[in-house]
């Protein structure tokens, strides 16, 4: 099934190149949408139009409870994530790689910064990839190394990335990191000082872009994302498309913010305040 779909998308891409193929043109306007619908159709044996009516069945989202978040917990979450994904700690902002990191409200929400609000001003915030519904990074990538999966995860294919860094320029959240140097050089140094690798997960190579992957490798095994496991009272992960899901229940009860909504990216990370 998946092989057929991939071949189909290749043909669709090529036919758009010569100005044929309506689905290819559709892909041009709404990247990722064709993918989502095809996946949907295959799973449920539904017809194409029907899938569009009902919308996707899965849209994964993360809720970060700022009221429950402390600096210690933030540190634990960052550490867990970076350990699980073998993210090197370069220790300087030039080469730095980060999938999730602690920052201030002022930087997380530069347009909503309110100088009279002392509660938010002093709260720690966790920033990460927003896994947007309309990801600008996937729109600009010239090789589809970054793309939106049908379940809403914006994935990064390190095997295909050419390292042009167009996605870094396009991301309005500064969520993407580039491997300016070989990450293993730093990992080896850290290992000499006692760092342990997560042997179930690869490293990256120099010259590719990386970012949070919503722990897609753990989800595949039926586990929760690493950050959720580290602090289940702060991080809530679930399916936004399901009315009865844990995340929808929380969102009904709590006030939430999303970053830079005015850009139309439709982020899937919510901040509960």
């Amino acid at each position: 099934m998946s092989m057929d779909r991939r071949k189909f998308l290749k043909v669709a891409g090529l036919s758009t190149l010569v100005g044929l193929g309506s689905s290819g043109a559709f892909e041009l306007l709404k990247p990722g949408r064709v993918d989502a619908e095809m996946e949907h159709g295959h799973h449920h044996g539904e017809h194409h139009e029907k899938a569009e009516e009902t919308g996707p069945k899965t849209r994964l989202a993360m809720l970060i409870d700022i009221k429950a978040l402390t600096r210690e917990k933030a540190e634990k979450i960052v550490h867990t994530c970076h350990h699980l994904h073998n993210v090197p700690n370069w220790g300087d902002p030039k080469n730095e790689i980060k999938w999730i990191w602690e920052d201030e409200f002022e930087h997380a929400f530069p347009d909503s910064y309110n100088e009279y609000d002392e509660i938010l001003e002093h709260s720690p915030f966790l920033l990460m990839c927003n896994h947007c519904d309309e990801p600008p990074c996937a729109r600009v990538c010239p090789v589809e190394a970054t793309f939106r999966r049908p379940d809403g995860i914006v994935a990064q294919d390190y095997h295909r990335c050419i390292g042009c860094r167009f996605c870094m320029a396009a991301c309005p959240y500064g969520s993407r990191s580039f491997n300016w140097l070989d990450p293993r050089v730093m990992l080896k140094k850290e290992m000499a000082k006692g760092r342990k690798l997560n042997k179930r997960f690869p490293t990256r190579m120099r010259g590719v872009v990386e970012k949070c992957n919503f722990c897609v490798e753990r989800l595949a095994e039926g586990k929760k994302p690493g950050c959720v496991e580290a602090c289940p009272d702060v991080m809530h992960f679930g399916n936004l498309a399901d009315e009865n899901s844990n995340v929808r229940k929380i969102l009904r009860e709590r006030v939430s913010l999303r970053r830079k909504l005015e850009l139309g990216t439709k982020p899937s990370v919510f901040y509960l305040i």
């Binding site: 290749k10 891409g13 090529l14 758009t16 190149l17 290819g24 892909e27 041009l28 306007l29 990247p31 902002p93 030039k94 080469n95 730095e96 790689i97 920052d103 002022e106 930087h107 997380a108 530069p110 347009d111 920033l127 600008p136 729109r139 600009v140 990538c141 010239p142 090789v143 589809e144 190394a145 295909r160 990335c161 050419i162 390292g163 042009c164 860094r165 167009f166 870094m168 320029a169 396009a170 991301c171 309005p172 959240y173 500064g174 990191s177 580039f178 491997n179 300016w180 140097l181 070989d182 120099r206 010259g207 590719v208 872009v209 830079k260 850009l263 139309g264 990216t265």
Partner: protein, 386 residues
């Protein structure tokens, strides 16, 4: 025809060897970059594009500038450009090759470059940029070679070349429009997110490309027997002047929108570039110089008695070339990253290997241009002898 590049004076060969030395140094620096990674440059997580992409952007403009000669010659039959057009096309060839090289040295995994062709992605502007740039290179090779060959034989240009020449006009517009689209379609980068980006790119291109051409033609008049003709030079200079005025006019419009609306995001980069924000302002001297030099260039090229003096003409063109280079080759790309999406300021300092590589690509462009101009001048000199 190309054999004409193999016969030259010792000065010619000295120049070629000089360029080859720079290219060699850059090549060694590139091998180092290939081995260690782009970390040897001054680029960072915040300033993720630097000298390479900035130079790329500038030279797309230089390449597109050739169309300012093609339009009068082929659409308006302005015969005074007849002997000059090929020199514009040769600038385009050299500039596009430089652009492609700047892309190659900028990407993190150059051996995977063909992925762009292997996985064609029509929703990426970079995909179109690849098509238009390579297409423009091909078009200019076809047009430049055939028109020069026809001149050499004393025959009219083959008829099938005509449509290709006409095609080169919209194509030249397209290369710089698509290059502007690389920037102008990104949400969250206020400085780039402007509909006037493509028009402004074109205006500065039509100033930058021809100004390089005029400087080179003046040089050729001095050292060879080939004379482009005073009328042709003066007319190109007028074009440059108008294009530069339009470029500055567009720049002024950016200032108006940002500062009259008073929206912080729109103002931030302009403030950083021209006044500095807090302790950060390492581009301020460049950007202010750009305005002063650009205005000086406009003044020199605008006033007829000054413009008619060959020395002043060369200085005026040099001013325009330099001002547009600072504007696009320094300020535009770096400035777009300041402040970053979290409104934090990081400054950019290019490193020595990075500058060596960029200089080497300039030298490659210089070498290609030297060889092509040598051939063209030899053909023109033969014509004049007959």
């Amino acid at each position: 025809m190309i054999e004409k590049a193999l016969k030259g004076s010792s000065v010619y060969w000295g120049w070629v060897i000089f360029l080859l030395c720079i290219i060699g140094a850059g090549f060694i620096a590139y091998l180092y970059q290939l081995k260690v990674g782009l970390g040897i440059t001054g680029m960072s997580r915040d300033i993720s594009w630097g000298v390479y992409i900035a130079q790329f952007t500038y030279f797309v403009g230089v390449a597109a500038g050739a169309v300012m000669l093609v339009i009068p010659k082929y659409l308006h039959h302005y015969t005074k450009y007849a002997k000059v057009v090929v020199f514009g096309e040769f600038i385009a060839i050299a500039a596009v090759i430089m652009c492609l090289l700047f892309i190659v040295v900028d990407i993190g995994q150059p051996m995977r470059m063909m992925n762009v062709v292997l996985h064609p992605t029509p929703h990426s502007m970079l995909f179109y940029d690849m098509i238009v740039l390579n297409g423009y290179l091909l078009i200019n090779i076809i047009c430049g070679y055939n028109t020069l060959l026809a001149d050499k034989k004393g025959l009219p240009c083959p008829r099938w070349v005509k449509p290709v020449i006409y095609l080169s006009i919209p194509w030249a517009i397209s290369i710089h429009t698509v290059t502007a689209f690389l920037y102008a379609g990104l949400p969250g980068r206020h400085f780039w997110l402007t509909a006037i980006m493509a028009p402004r790119f074109l205006a500065s291109a039509f100033a930058a490309g021809p100004s390089l051409l005029v400087m080179l033609l003046l040089f050729l008049r001095k050292v060879t027997k080939f004379d482009a003709g005073e009328d042709a030079l003066q007319n190109v200079a007028r074009t440059i002047c108008y294009a530069m005025i339009v470029n500055f006019f567009f720049m002024g419009m950016e200032f108006f929108t940002a500062f009259y609306s008073n929206i912080p995001g729109h103002k931030a980069t302009l403030e950083y570039l021209f006044w500095g924000i807090g302790e950060y302002g390492n581009l301020v001297p460049f950007m202010r110089a750009c305005i002063v030099i650009g205005l000086a260039g406009i003044f020199i090229l605008l006033v007829p008695p000054i413009r008619r003096n060959p020395l002043w003409l060369a200085i005026g063109c040099a001013c325009v070339f330099l001002a547009t280079w600072i504007d696009k080759g320094v300020g535009l790309v770096i400035g777009g990253f300041v402040p970053n999406p979290l409104e934090v300021i990081t400054e950019y300092h290019p490193t020595f290997p990075e500058i060596t590589i960029a200089t080497a690509i300039w030298a490659v462009g210089g070498l290609i241009l030297t060889i092509l101009y040598k051939v063209a001048v030899s053909v023109r000199e033969e014509e004049q002898r007959i």
